[in-house]
Structures are given as structure tokens and as C-alpha cells.
């Protein structure tokens, strides 16, 4: 293992680590409680002090999860959409009548909930609405303004108005399998992650296409910085940041490449307030990277397993990480 990071500032000693009991697939903060989502059945609630508490949530694999800071919504292969709170209580919010896998979940304005099973997307606001995508749904995201859901599928993404069922959804087209979708915080750009090692995007005002490529493998983790100026992404042995300032966003511009390492970046998490990105790598390394100058802080030394979960608390004081091998921790950065 190379020692290219010898001598950088480290916060590793401020870590409260524990064994999650299974591979960690996601982590979300509810206040100062970190909720580690395991690949199967349960979530682990943990704070900086004390032992974690296990909550049984699904009868099977947990396929997707999302949080608004108050609760964690999850979808499982048991066909259930569940809600888990900071008290460690879990309940079923909805379930698929055919017990299909709930592949994706999303949270929208006023507590609206969206999920998908196969080709169908559902939104539950005041009423339950259904949308039949042209093919299997690859990802869901609410647009930041209004009540609209972006649904990624093969050959593009559809923008659906759940409250106007008569209105045909708008389709943004691009050949290939679109697996995840995200909107820039100002709502001007829509970006999808594809099966191929690339991102695709559209400027919504004029539907102009944006291609962001050069990755080693497909991008499985991405996030917007606090002001929406950058889109941080995984998929290469460096942190790749696409610039979204200005009316053209990344069009015609090169990405910023920071924090090169021996292994690929697997997870990214942007600090809620500052232009800092936490990057988790394939060998278990976690770095905090400052965008302005690429300065790094060591948050976790490389270990055996890849980082598969990474998140900041809403106040930016705590960082949580989890690995494929079942290691989990909270780091106190106050």
C-alpha cells in the first residue's frame, strides 16, 4: 500500500466504530443519530456514544433507502415501503399488491412519497398516482420546484406530473440504460447515471444534451455540493467534480479531478454547508477533500472492505461511513 498520504491531517482518532453485523448499503442521519441500512432485513441506529440498536425493518433484502432527516424510507424485496424513525420504531407505509421488489424510493415536497416496482412508478401525495414507464425504472427524483417526478428508464427519462394525469409526461431521450437520476438544486439541469461508464444530462430549459464521460466504471454515487456549484461523482480512482456554475453548466468544460488514489472512489457525500466532499474508496479509505485547493483530511485508513455508505449529518458536525464487510462508524468533526 503506497504511503502517498503520509503526513496529512487525520481525524481518525475521533471515530466511534463498530461491527454492523452485515454489509452496509446506505447510511442516513436523523439529527445526530446515524441509521446504517444493512443489505438484509435491518437497520442499525447509532450515536457517537453508546452501543448501536438494531431495528428489523424488512423480511428480506433492503433495496433502496432515502431520508429527509426526520425518517428513513426504505423499499425491500418483500414488496414493502417502510418508515423508520430516530426512536428506532419502524412501520410499513405501503406495500405492492403483487409483492414485487421495491427498487427505488424518493421523498418529495410536503412528505410526498414515490417508489417504483418494475416499470411502474407510484407517488403518494394527497392521493396515490401511478405511472407506467416505457421500461424498468432505473431511478426516481422529485424536481426541486413544483410537484413533478423524474423517472429514469431505458433510452431516457420521463418528467411526470402526478397531479395532472391527463398531461402526457415529457420524455428526455438518449439511447442506453439510465440507472439513476438527479436534479441540480436550482432545477435547471437533470443528470442521469448510465449502465455505461458515463453520465448524461439535459439542460431543462432547452433540452440541450450534456455528456459527461471518461469514467473507468459506471457511476454509482453522486451528490451536489451545498450551493449546487459542483456535482461530485464516483467511478474513477479520483474524485471527479463537474462544474455547474453559470448558465451552461458543465457544457464545454472539463471536470475537476481531485484526491487520486490506488483504488476507485465508490461513494461520495457532499458537506451540507461547505465546499468539501467526503470520498470513500474501494480499499476502505475515506478522505475529506476541499474543492478550492484539493486539500485532504484522512477520515479513515484503508482497510479490507470497500466503502459502501457515506453521509454527513445536517449540521455537518458528524460523518458516518459503512463498508461492504460490515464495518461502520461515526466520526466526530465538531
Amino acid at each position: 500500500m503506497s504511503d502517498i498520504r503520509g503526513g496529512i491531517v487525520s481525524v481518525v482518532e475521533r471515530t466511534h466504530a463498530f461491527d454492523a453485523g452485515g454489509p452496509v448499503v446506505a447510511v442516513h442521519f436523523l439529527g445526530h443519530s446515524a441509521v446504517f441500512v444493512l443489505g438484509e432485513e435491518a437497520m442499525l441506529l447509532a450515536e457517537m456514544n453508546g452501543a448501536p440498536r438494531r431495528v428489523d425493518v424488512h423480511d428480506g433484502a433492503i433495496l433502496a433507502s432515502v431520508s429527509d432527516g426526520e425518517r428513513v424510507i426504505s423499499g425491500g424485496d418483500d414488496g414493502k415501503i417502510a418508515e423508520t424513525d430516530a426512536k428506532g420504531e419502524s412501520r410499513s407505509l405501503a406495500s405492492d399488491p403483487k409483492h414485487r421488489w421495491i427498487d427505488h424510493v424518493a421523498l418529495g415536497p410536503d412528505g410526498a412519497l414515490a417508489w417504483s416496482a418494475g416499470k411502474q412508478a407510484f407517488v403518494r401525495g394527497k392521493e396515490l398516482r401511478e405511472f407506467a414507464a416505457p421500461s424498468t425504472v432505473g431511478g426516481l427524483a422529485f424536481l426541486p420546484k413544483g410537484f413533478r417526478l423524474a423517472v429514469a428508464h431505458y433510452n431516457g427519462a420521463s418528467l411526470w406530473f402526478p397531479n395532472a394525469p391527463q398531461a402526457a409526461p415529457e420524455t428526455l431521450e438518449w439511447k442506453g440504460s439510465h440507472l439513476g437520476v438527479t436534479l441540480s438544486p436550482d432545477g435547471r439541469f437533470l443528470v442521469t447515471t448510465m449502465q455505461e461508464p458515463m453520465l448524461h444530462g439535459w439542460r431543462l430549459a432547452d433540452r440541450k444534451h450534456m455528456r459527461m464521460s471518461g469514467y473507468a466504471v459506471r457511476v454509482t454515487s453522486l451528490g451536489w455540493t451545498a450551493g449546487g456549484d459542483w456535482l461530485a461523482t464516483s467511478g474513477a480512482p479520483q474524485l471527479i467534480l463537474w462544474p455547474f456554475q453559470g448558465k451552461d453548466g458543465p457544457m464545454g468544460r472539463e471536470p475537476l479531478l481531485l484526491a487520486p488514489a490506488d483504488h476507485r472512489v465508490e461513494m461520495v457525500a457532499c458537506h451540507p454547508r461547505q465546499e468539501i466532499v467526503a470520498a470513500g474508496y474501494g480499499d476502505g479509505l475515506v478522505l475529506l477533500v476541499r474543492i478550492s485547493d484539493g486539500a485532504e483530511i484522512l477520515a479513515k485508513r484503508p482497510g479490507d472492505a470497500r466503502i459502501t455508505a457515506l453521509a454527513w449529518s445536517a449540521d455537518g458536525m458528524l460523518l458516518a461511513w459503512g463498508t461492504e464487510g460490515g464495518e461502520a462508524a461515526i466520526v466526530d468533526l465538531a
Binding site: 443489505g39 438484509e40 428480506g60 439511447k175 440504460s177 449502465q195
Partner: protein, 354 residues
């Protein structure tokens, strides 16, 4: 961080075959035998599985084309998602079986394992098993290109429902199959009765297992009757290696009008600097035509055997082991595909000889 060993990856068996050939019967057999193994099954038609199996997942069989303009670069997108979800329950099953619909082309399924890094890391393709209906295959081959693909692509072929055809008809079907695929292991079965190890745990895509590329002779699967023995007796006389461009002697020579296999040998070592650019360019150019390829190569100045395999445009290869002192360092490649430019391929290969 080390990559997971092949042994840790969950094996995936792809079951294909035309409607009514006996795929589901085979699947139900596999699931109901008292072998103590647990299988996760991915199917298209839910109702068909007679056994109460814990892990049965419905798939959409959605194939999409990668965005590189190549029509053969297709992937089973739904499989990527399903395998990822299934692997969250890793400890709950020993292997995965993917049953495809009757009209399915096996190539996208196979390519999925080479193209998605996550899938390739956690699972490995074990074999493509095709079930063929002894009575109806010949008809199907006339009107369905998918049926041809399924035969040509397979590692193991079950000629099923042999009780419904005469010995002559059976011989016809076998010959037809051999004409499409000289390299698969063929079994004759009734009601899909076959020992489990003939279809599961084949390691057909394991580079380490590419020991020889010889056309396979018919195996009667232990179900032989008197007439089968007689048939085998014919084979015994022709039990030397098949000639380059012809299928094994003893069977009727059947060349399909469009699907062929080309086998190239060289007793002289190859020049690695010429071979790799040649084969890369060949599969890029002829990718859509080449269904599968396999090779064992000896390079000049290299004491290790190089083995490779490919599906359409995707190639996967590596050094396997040292050549043994008593081993003849013969290089051999086989291509199975449609309308292959035989002369171009032969000339190209010959130009790679050191």
C-alpha cells in the same frame, strides 16, 4: 485490496430453449432433487415453477443496446438490477439459475456478466444450458433464428423428449445440432432426466478450465438403450480428432447455411504483437457475426499457455499455466458464428504465426 476469488463468486446457470422443450421440467427437477443446495431462480413466467422455492424473482427480460452504436453490444439491464438485489441475500443461496423465455438470445445474458463490474465481481457465469425438443427442433431451426442462437451458444445441450422420436430422427437432430455447435456437451434425455452435475457446476466460462478445444462427442447420458450402444460403436472408429473445418466423422455432415464454426490450428507459435491487434480488430469488425470464440495459444518467447474466450465483441483472456515439457505447443482457436468471413479469418490467423 484483493479481488474476490472465482470460488467466492456465486455461479449462475442460464437455462434456455424453445417453448415446450422442457426447460421448466428441468428447472423443477433441479429444484426438487435432494441435493441440499439452495437456488435462487430468475424467471419470466412466474406461475410455472411447481416447487415452493424461496427465492424466485420475476424478470422482464429487457435487453438494451449500449450507447456505442454496436448492435451486438446488448445487456440484460433487468438482470443487472436483479443480481444486485439478490446478492444482498448472499448467504441464502448457493447458486442462481436464470431461465430465459423461448425467444431469448443468450448473448445479452452472457455479456451482462462481462460488462457490469458489480455483477462480474459478485457472480460468475457457469454455463449456458439449452434444452431442445427432439421432435420439434428441426422445424424451429427453420423459422426461428433464436433457436439457432440458443444451440450455437450453448455449453450443454439436452436433446429432450427422445421418447417421442425414432432413432433415425434422433440421429438427424443430433447431426443438425453438431452442425451448429461441435463443441457443446450433448445429452439425450427423456422428461429432462439428467444428473445434476451435467448441467450445474460446469465452469464453462472459467478460463482455467479451457484445457482443450475439441469437438465433443455425443454422450448418451447414461440413459442408453440397445440402439444407443450401436451408435456409440460407430463413433469408436472415428475417435480421432476432427478435421479442421468439418464436424466429427461418424455423424452426418451437416453444415448450416449461415451458422458455422471455424477451427484454426498452428503448430508454430504465434507472434503476440501481431495476434492481439488482429483478434481485437476482428471482433470489433465482425462482432455481430461471431457468437462465441475460444482459444488456447502459444506465443513465441512465452512459456505459458494463454487462454481466452469471447462473446461477440467482448474478449476475456489470460495466462493459464506453464506449458508442460511433454506438451505439444499447439495453438487453437475456434469461432462459432453466422456468415463468418472464413477466408479473411484464416488468412488473418496465419499472418500471426511468428
Amino acid at each position: 485490496m484483493s479481488e474476490p476469488l472465482s470460488a467466492d463468486k456465486v455461479p449462475v446457470t442460464v437455462l434456455t430453449g424453445y417453448l415446450g422443450a422442457g426447460k421448466t421440467t428441468l428447472l423443477n427437477r433441479i429444484l426438487s432433487e435432494p441435493h441440499g443446495k439452495r437456488y435462487a431462480v430468475i424467471v419470466n413466467e412466474f406461475g410455472e415453477i411447481g416447487i415452493d422455492n424461496d427465492l424466485v424473482v420475476g424478470a422482464d427480460e429487457e435487453v438494451f443496446e449500449m450507447n456505442n452504436g454496436c448492435i451486438c453490444c446488448t445487456v440484460r439491464g433487468d438482470l443487472v438490477r436483479i443480481l444486485d438485489g439478490l446478492m444482498r441475500r448472499k448467504g441464502k443461496f448457493d447458486a442462481i439459475i436464470v431461465e430465459t423465455t423461448g425467444l431469448a438470445d443468450p448473448a445479452p445474458v452472457a455479456q451482462t456478466f462481462f460488462v457490469d463490474e458489480n455483477v462480474g465481481r459478485k457472480t460468475r457465469l457457469d454455463a449456458v444450458v439449452t434444452v431442445a425438443d427432439a421432435k420439434w427442433l428441426t422445424e424451429r431451426l427453420k423459422d426461428a433464428p433464436e433457436a439457432k442462437n440458443q444451440i450455437a451458444f450453448a455449453d450443454v445441450i439436452l436433446i429432450n423428449k427422445t421418447d417421442l422420436v425414432s432413432p433415425d430422427e434422433l440421429r438427424e437432430v443430433e447431426a443438425r445440432i453438431r452442425g451448429l455447435n461441435p463443441y457443446a456437451k450433448v445429452h439425450r434425455t427423456e422428461r429432462a432426466q439428467i444428473p445434476l452435475e451435467a448441467v450445474i457446476g460446469r465452469n464453462a466460462f472459467d478460463l482455467d478450465r479451457i484445457l482443450a478445444i475439441e469437438p465433443e462427442f455425443l454422450d448418451d447420458g447414461g440413459d442408453g438403450d440397445g440402439h444407443d450402444h450401436a451408435h456409440h460403436h460407430d463413433h469408436a472408429h472415428d475417435h480421432d480428432h476432427a478435421h479442421d473445418h468439418a464436424p466429427a466423422r461418424g455423424l452426418k455432415h451437416y453444415h448450416d447455411e449461415e451458422m458455422q464454426s471455424i477451427s484454426l490450428d498452428s503448430e508454430q507459435p504465434l507472434d503476440a504483437d501481431k495476434f492481439f491487434p488482429w483478434v481485437q480488430e476482428l471482433v470489433q469488425k465482425e462482432g455481430p457475426s461471431i457468437l462465441r470464440c475460444k482459444g488456447i495459444l502459444s506465443f513465441k518467447g512465452d512459456d505459458e499457455r494463454f487462454v481466452f474466450q469471447g462473446v461477440h465483441m467482448i474478449l476475456d483472456g489470460g495466462h493459464q499455466r506453464a506449458w508442460r515439457p511433454d506438451e505439444k505447443r499447439t495453438s487453437r482457436i475456434v469461432f462459432i458464428g453466422r456468415n463468418l468471413p472464413e477466408e479473411t479469418i484464416v488468412k488473418g490467423f496465419e499472418s500471426c504465426i511468428a
